[in-house]
């Protein structure tokens, strides 16, 4: 494997730079995926039949905490990558751990939110609006949960093998994924919660 020392570690082999580019293309596919889900949601948003509407359901408190957690975790994963480039394995691990814990907190609040809705009789089956709400939020939440497992797997590999072209590449790609989830969340925050609460 040829290593090009003039580039950052995560880009340093041809395979590595192909992987990063490939992941960008994959994110290119995630955009129509979420765009479709948003479209479905916006089509359905007023179709709450006999069930509750968004303004009756949403509470700003937990959503703000979720937003805070996800936005800060995007910052900490950035710090982790920065530490990685400087070769600080320990700092990198700490920042990744903080990132994942915040992700976990996000998932916890989301699950709690889902339980509250169901408790109030607002289920997946109640109305077109709720179906689309649960599926949009759920898809994002599933991405975060998957990201948690993925990030944990990468941490184990860095812990065992240290920072090398392969692990650096994985961590960098993971950071792209995590930032992407953050961006999607900003859209959810604006078009689902803020719009619903207005």
């Amino acid at each position: 494997m040829k290593i090009d020392a003039s580039k950052p570690l995560e880009y340093s082999t041809e395979e590595n730079s192909n992987k990063i580019f490939g992941f960008w293309v994959f994110l290119g596919a995630e955009i129509p995926l979420f765009a479709t889900l948003f479209t479905v949601y916006l089509v359905m948003v007023d179709r709450f039949a006999s069930g509750p509407s968004g303004s009756e359901l949403f509470e700003i408190g937990p959503v703000l905490i979720e937003t805070f957690l996800l936005l800060s975790s995007s910052f900490t994963i950035g710090l982790a990558i920065h530490a990685m480039r400087l070769g600080y394995k320990k700092a990198m691990m700490v920042f990744m751990a903080i990132t994942l814990l915040m992700g976990l907190g996000f998932i916890g609040i989301e699950i709690d939110e889902f339980f509250t809705y169901v408790h109030e009789g607002a289920t997946l089956q109640t109305s077109g609006f709720l179906s689309s709400l649960f599926v949009l939020l759920g898809t994002h939440g599933a991405h975060v949960s998957f990201g948690f497992l993925w990030g944990a797997a990468i941490m184990i590999q860095i812990w065992r093998q240290g920072i090398n072209p392969a692990t650096a590449n994985k961590a960098f790609i993971f950071s792209l994924f995590w930032h992407f989830l953050d961006v999607v969340w900003i859209f959810i925050f604006s078009f689902v919660y803020l719009k619903g609460l207005m």
Binding site: N18, V25, G28, P32, T36, A49, L124, G128, S131
Partner: protein
């Protein structure tokens, strides 16, 4: 557990199919054991990450599916051959046209094309491999397992029966209570994920792994068409993913996306389906344009006319393909403005398509044409596809469509587009590239026999349908009375279908015959080719190119031969290759079971399978397999052997 839901009742045909499937499976298992081929199968095929072998497996699976979809087609044509036929009942007919459409498009045409592109693209761009060889194996196994999941539906639980477009509310639990449409959502989902991964893989391969000197505008036309196709895949398939997921939620978990009450919206399905479905049609047709371009240039011994306009027209088509979806439901009450918009965008596609047709004709003009089998298919494609295109413009007029909508006219139209535009192309490509992969040609005499059977019978089968449509015979109608007068033309069409079947049998027989008797090719360039794939020895060594070629012109191999522009100047050095791995196959098998358990709402096994998938993904992530090197001496020895001493 309630075993009854696995059973399919009542049809002697289906019992016959069950028995033959069981016997064939036992036969294969016994045969593999008897000839001690398990190890060979595992080492050489199931675990392979070689793009050429993966391509061959795609093509084999596609041929198998062509047979399956073809049997469905024959059954439909037989059932409607005469008035009041009693061969299939209404339900069975519904299942047959649904699976026929699904299989032909998703499990035959598309995988056939993906197979050809797997084999050829890395060779055409002078690369040693695809960007992500292991992911490529994952793609294949997801496609294959999805296809198998759909195929077992007719013996276990019942096939989908709401048409390949699965319109709601027809496809809802209320009106399609069997598990058939559960199979639909899951089988398509699994294979669709595989296709999406292929899309990513080939975009990276083509954009990042071309031989030095091959700029975008020096790429062969097939490579261009595949690049554009994969871009469409990456943008269109996520829409299908979402649509199928919502369908699954509606059917398995009782959500209200496409229901008629509680705020559901059936038109949402129609829109989502066709936002994917129309581009899908171009996913199978654009690579065909690429294949034809290569074949026309090779067999007229000329550069392709209007290279740049070919590229631009494909880009335009891919863009427009996303703007026409609502032409599939002009009659479902969407208003004049919407219909007009989609009518205009649809007709606009005729312009870039026309440009391509003229480019091909100009390439042929004054060319030194040789009428080989692939060239014959290409030449036949041009007029037949034009008929499909012209009738397409007729359908594109929203007001006129109120007349032909969902009649046999439509069925004739899309077969006139899809069969020359995809099936003839893959057959032509198959004949054209066969000697590259296997080192010998298919027999030309048998090839031409099959060609004439197929071309003539195709027109006999489908031309009458235009008239049947204008006479008012609707699509998906399982029987009709004597008085309608539909009988004679339908009988003619059935006769054509028999002829088509004979043609395909000759084609397959040709593969068998040629494997046994055709002389082996020693030149590895049997057609006097123009592009880089013909610069490798045949059969192709695992590493493709001993020396990575340096490209200076379009049709680089042709200039190398004509103008002595050197391709291979570097020295042979050691070559890196990936190791085989069984994980993609195992992952595919688990996906199959996950799909199966979800179809039958068996939650606990489904959760176990889901965990299995996560474990497999983790195992793939933790893999520290860096492949291996083939030493320079070994490469030199292989090249000498394959080229008969001339390196």
């Amino acid at each position: 557990m309630d075993l009854d839901k696995f059973k399919v009742h009542g049809e002697p045909l289906i019992y016959g199919a069950m028995i033959s499937i069981a016997l064939a499976t036992i036969g294969i298992l016994v045969g593999l054991t008897y000839f001690k081929k398990w190890g060979y199968l595992w080492r050489e095929w199931l675990t392979t990450v070689d793009h050429k072998k993966i391509g061959v497996m795609y093509i084999l699976a596609a041929l198998l599916m062509l047979f399956r979809g073809g049997v469905d087609a024959m059954m439909m044509r037989l059932q409607t051959a005469a008035p009041e036929m009693k061969f299939l009942d209404a339900q069975h007919y519904n299942e047959v046209f649904t699976t026929h459409g699904l299989i032909m498009i998703l499990f035959m045409a598309m995988p056939f094309i993906i197979g050809l592109m797997n084999v050829i693209i890395p060779l055409q761009i002078g690369a040693r491999d695809v960007a992500f060889p292991r992911l490529n194996a994952v793609s294949f196994w997801l496609f294959f397992m999805g296809a198998m999941l759909l195929n077992i539906s007719f013996v276990i639980g019942g096939s989908p029966d709401a048409g390949w477009s699965a319109y709601f509310p027809l496809a809802s639990l209320e009106f399609s209570p069997t598990v058939g449409n559960n199979y639909y959502s899951l089988a398509l989902q699994i294979s669709g994920i595989g296709t999406l991964i292929t899309g990513v893989n080939f975009i990276v391969t083509i954009l990042k792994m071309r031989a030095p000197g091959m700029t975008l505008m020096k790429m062969p036309m097939f490579t261009w068409s595949v690049l554009i196709t994969n871009i469409i895949i990456v943008f269109a398939f996520p829409v299908l993913t979402v649509a199928l997921a919502l369908m699954m939620f509606d059917r398995l978990f009782g959500s209200q996306f496409f229901t008629m009450a509680n705020g559901g919206m059936d038109m949402l399905w129609a829109n989502l389906f066709w936002v994917w479905g129309h581009p899908e049609v171009y996913i199978v047709i654009l690579p065909a344009f690429g294949i034809y371009s290569e074949i026309i240039a090779t067999f007229s011994k000329k550069n392709l006319y209007g290279y740049t306009s070919m590229v631009v027209s494909m880009l335009l088509i891919s863009l427009l393909s996303f703007l026409v979806w609502a032409h599939h439901f002009y009659t479902m009450g969407q208003g004049v403005m919407v219909n007009s918009f989609f009518s205009i965008t649809t007709m606009a596609i005729a312009v870039p398509t026309g440009v391509k047709i003229f480019n091909w004709l100009f390439t042929l003009r004054k060319g030194r044409i040789t009428f080989t089998t692939p060239m014959l298919y290409t030449l036949a494609f041009i007029p037949i596809f034009t008929i499909g295109g012209v009738t397409g413009v007729m359908l594109a007029m929203a007001s006129a469509d109120y007349q032909y909508h969902n009649t046999m006219f439509l069925v004739a139209h899309f077969h006139y587009v899809l069969i020359p535009g995809a099936v003839f192309a893959v057959i032509a490509g198959f004949h054209y590239w066969f000697p590259k992969v296997f080192g010998f040609r298919l027999n030309e005499r048998l090839g031409k026999h099959a060609f004439w059977w197929i071309i003539i019978s195709f027109n006999v089968t489908f031309f009458p349908l235009f008239f049947l449509g204008l006479m008012g015979m609707t699509r998906r109608m399982y029987t009709y009375s004597e008085e309608t007068g539909f009988g004679p033309l339908n009988m003619l069409s059935f006769a054509g279908a028999v002829g088509l079947a004979i043609g395909f049998v000759i084609l397959v027989y040709n593969i068998y015959w040629s494997t046994r008797y055709m002389p082996r090719d020693t030149t590895s360039d049997p057609w006097d080719g123009r592009t880089l794939e013909w610069a490798t020895p045949s059969p192709i060594p695992a590493y493709n190119f001993a020396i990575v070629p340096k490209v200076q012109t379009r049709d680089a191999f042709w200039s190398a031969k004509q103008d002595n522009i050197p391709l291979f100047e570097d020295k042979i050095t050691k070559i890196h290759l990936p190791n085989n791995t069984g994980k993609p196959f195992i992952l595919g098998v688990i996906f199959f079971f996950l799909g199966f358990f979800l179809v039958f709402s068996m939650w606990i096994p489904a959760i176990v399978a889901g965990i299995g998938i996560i474990i497999m993904l983790a195992a793939m992530s933790f893999d520290r397999d860096h492949g291996f090197y083939v030493s320079a001496e070994e490469v030199i020895a292989t090249e000498k052997k394959l080229r008969g001493e001339t390196v």
